[in-house]
């Protein structure tokens, strides 16, 4: 396979190096992110996009401010509608509950709708251990499940693979005749997955949002697998983060439209499935049982630690597509279920084990493109800076960085010290640059961390202050004659 998988447990720098060294990955990312971003900009520009973002923000702030009441309302309405509601603090509680439900209903096979939260708690591993087959049914997720990979984009899980790679995989795994026609590949997947939908005992999905006033679970899809999973199997299980609750139906449709436009540039996704309970008497189809698992897994901690703003996220992926870092390294380099700017914020706060998670807040240039793209106006650069500050304050940043910051503060404390330090940096850097021919290719001690990965330009021979003094001395004072 041309596009190699990156082992998520490798050290962060190795993951990034592998991603940067992969030419096919770069091609695939460039093709996809630019197009997705263009579609978003057009769709938000076609309506009062700024007003939509402002109203989304207000709606989510209200929902999070009243989170306990809304969750209670959601629970009581779901229960009244005939659903069963469960609460889980950690990932293993979700999986335990899910497997209990499956055992009780004698489930052999489950079909799944693409869901970030189920990736977050590793539902597939837990089901496999319990001897239950889990089939991913979103076309992209189906492809990466065949390939044995995790998703690399919130929305387009197989963004890292070219059509050629997918064709190879289908020929090997599904006996597809050789072709590069995506419509043919799609037909092969349709036939295969239709069998799974019709024979599965359980459907599993996340929730894009859930309506408190009616007890309604909403899922947004384009392919129709969401409708299949919530309609055909006899048991339907929803796993949702507690932050997904919205107060009213009007709020739900506001979020639905903001999400569709930001995620894929559509006015509306092809399907919006709104499930308020199990099949009613007289209905020809629909599940006999509806179970909803409400998950914390670090979300309450996020609120407590001052990162509640990240709970506004609607998982549209817009911040990934505009991020200059994501565009270069792709999703797997982040090593977490969630990648891109929002992934860098929440990966370390959720209760997940991610290798070198402390490095993620630094996987950003702080350019602010993510904040401008976000449909809920989440100030991602500020959250990333706060995480960096916490990191330093906790002492995780290392003794030398601490010392450097103390010295920096001492130096900045007086003008004389500042100027002396400038002169020292100037002469020192120019000597080093002279030895290595123009720009500095290696520096000693802790500074090597910079020059290991890039060159360091020498300081200007004369500082700004020196140049300013010289300029003022040259300038003649003109006085107007009376």
């Amino acid at each position: 396979m041309a596009t190699s998988t990156i082992d998520l447990h490798l050290p962060y720098t190795t993951r990034v190096a592998k991603a940067l060294g992969n030419r096919h990955l770069h091609t695939a990312l460039e093709r996809a992110t630019e197009r997705m971003d263009g579609q978003r900009v057009a769709a938000m520009g076609a309506v009062e996009g700024e007003r939509l973002r402002t109203q989304m923000r207000q709606m989510k702030e209200h929902a999070l401010r009243h989170l306990p009441e809304l969750l209670e309302q959601l629970e009581s309405n779901l229960t009244a509608n005939g659903a069963q509601v469960y609460w889980a603090k950690e990932a293993d509680e979700v999986n335990r509950t899910l497997i209990q439900i499956a055992r009780k209903a004698n489930v052999q096979k489950a079909v799944k709708v693409k869901s970030m939260v189920s990736e977050e708690v590793h539902v597939n591993d837990a089901l496999a251990q319990a001897g239950i087959t889990a089939v991913e049914t979103d076309l992209g997720e189906f492809i990466i499940q065949l390939a044995g990979e995790p998703p690399s984009h919130i929305l387009a899980p197989v963004i890292h693979r070219r059509a050629e790679d997918i064709a190879d995989l289908f020929q090997k795994e599904l006996d597809m005749p050789p072709t590069l026609d995506p419509q043919v590949m799609c037909g092969v997947a349709r036939t295969r997955l239709r069998r799974e939908f019709l024979s599965a005992d359980m459907g599993i999905s996340g929730a894009n949002f859930a309506v408190a006033e009616t007890g309604t679970i909403c899922i947004v899809t384009n392919e129709g697998n969401g409708r299949m999973c919530s309609s055909l199997p006899r048991v339907y299980v929803v796993i949702m983060g507690i932050e997904k609750v919205v107060p009213t139906l009007e709020d739900a449709f506001l979020q639905y439209q903001a999400l569709s436009r930001s995620a894929t540039g559509q006015q509306c996704s092809v399907y919006l499935s709104m499930t308020s309970g199990p099949r009613r008497p007289g209905d020809a189809d629909g599940p006999d049982e509806l179970h909803v698992i409400l998950l914390d897994n670090g979300r309450v901690d996020m609120l407590a630690q001052g990162y509640g703003e990240a709970l506004c996220c609607v998982r549209c992926g817009a911040c990934l597509n505009v991020c200059p870092v994501y565009r270069e390294i792709g999703g797997h380099a982040y090593g977490s279920t969630y990648s891109g700017p929002i992934g860098s914020v929440i990966s370390g706060l959720l209760h997940n084990s991610v290798t070198d998670v402390a490095a993620l807040p630094y996987a950003s240039t702080l350019c602010g493109a993510c904040r401008d793209a976000c449909p809920v106006k989440i100030d991602l650069p500020r959250l990333l800076l706060d995480l960096r500050a916490d990191h330093v304050a906790e002492g995780d940043a290392g003794r030398i960085e601490h010392l450097a910051m103390q010295n920096f503060a001492w130096m900045m404390g007086s003008r004389a010290r500042y100027e002396a330090a400038g002169a020292l940096a100037n002469s020192g850097s120019n000597v080093l640059a002279w030895f290595s021919g123009g720009s500095i290719k290696s520096m000693p001690g802790p500074f090597a961390a910079w020059t290991d990965t890039r060159n360091f330009p020498p300081f200007a021979r004369h500082s700004f202050r020196e140049q300013w003094r010289a300029r003022k001395a040259r300038t003649k004072r003109i006085t107007r004659e009376e």
């Binding site: 076309l139 799609c186 506001l254 559509q266 399907y271 020809a284 309450v300 509640g308």
Partner: protein
């Protein structure tokens, strides 16, 4: 303490902290007056129908805008004929007949906005199949190869080209989901300019939440099933219908 109470109590304690940076202490809900209508559409019923058609055509759906129920009935038969010919051409010589070629997975006759459909279709050799139960393997096998689905709608929205369908007795979810081709019959009386107009009408009548909860599920459908997962290439008919035809008519 139960996990539920533990989580809820903890959130309450955190939210009561005066130094909490987010969410803001005062966070009012959006009120009805300030709430925006994201899209817009204007005009008489026929203008709205044409707008609906324009929107659904952008998404690779097809449509008719007609002046009466009689014309709608004829249009339905014509559309089925055209599609059946396409299907037959695709099957030609491959010996793939299933015996379900002339069947239509449908909502119950009384749930369709066009009267006398079953009789008319029977005259030209078609059979409307209205499943009472689709939960057993046998009942599913009996409809598995049906290529055509016919439904009405509970509402339709012109500005986005969207159909809204409730699941209920006589209104199977399968009819708009399992077949490769779906025909939706939309009388002008069910057509609204935008989603928000429908929400406002139901809310004013005092029953929006009841309307929604009375059914186990509602589905909004905007165009044919699609995916862009293979390198951003558009592919149609991934799991749901690949062809969606909407017949809008005065009535």
């Amino acid at each position: 303490m139960s996990t539920r109470d533990e989580i809820l109590n903890r959130i309450r304690v955190i939210l009561s902290r005066p130094d909490l940076p987010f969410p803001p202490a005062v966070a009012p809900p959006l009120d009805a007056a300030e709430r925006m209508t994201v899209t817009s559409a204007t005009g008489e019923a026929r203008d709205l129908a044409l707008r609906f058609g324009l929107e659904v055509a952008k998404l690779y759906g097809t449509y008719d805008v007609l002046d009466s129920e009689v014309e709608a009935r004829l249009a339905l038969v014509n559309r089925l004929r055209t599609w059946a010919d396409e299907e037959a051409a695709a099957r030609k010589g491959m010996g793939l007949e299933t015996g379900q070629e002339k069947m239509i997975l449908s909502w119950a006759a009384e749930r369709l906005p066009v009267a006398g459909l079953a009789e008319m279709l029977q005259d030209v050799g078609w059979q409307l199949v209205v499943p009472a139960d689709l939960t057993t393997p046998e009942s599913r096998e009996a409809v598995r190869f049906i290529r055509f689905g016919v439904t009405g709608v509970d509402a339709a929205f012109a500005s986005t080209g969207s159909l809204l369908l409730a699941a209920s007795a006589g209104q199977s979810r399968a009819a708009s989901l399992l077949p490769l081709r779906h025909i939706a019959l939309v009388p002008f009386s069910r057509l609204y300019p935008t989603i928000e107009d429908w929400l406002a009408e139901q809310r004013e009548a005092g029953g929006l939440d009841d309307t929604l909860r009375r059914r186990a599920a509602w589905h909004m459908i905007t165009g044919p099933s699609k995916s862009a997962d293979i390198e951003m290439n558009l592919t149609l008919g991934v799991h749901g219908p690949k062809f969606v035809h909407v017949i809008l008519f005065a009535g």
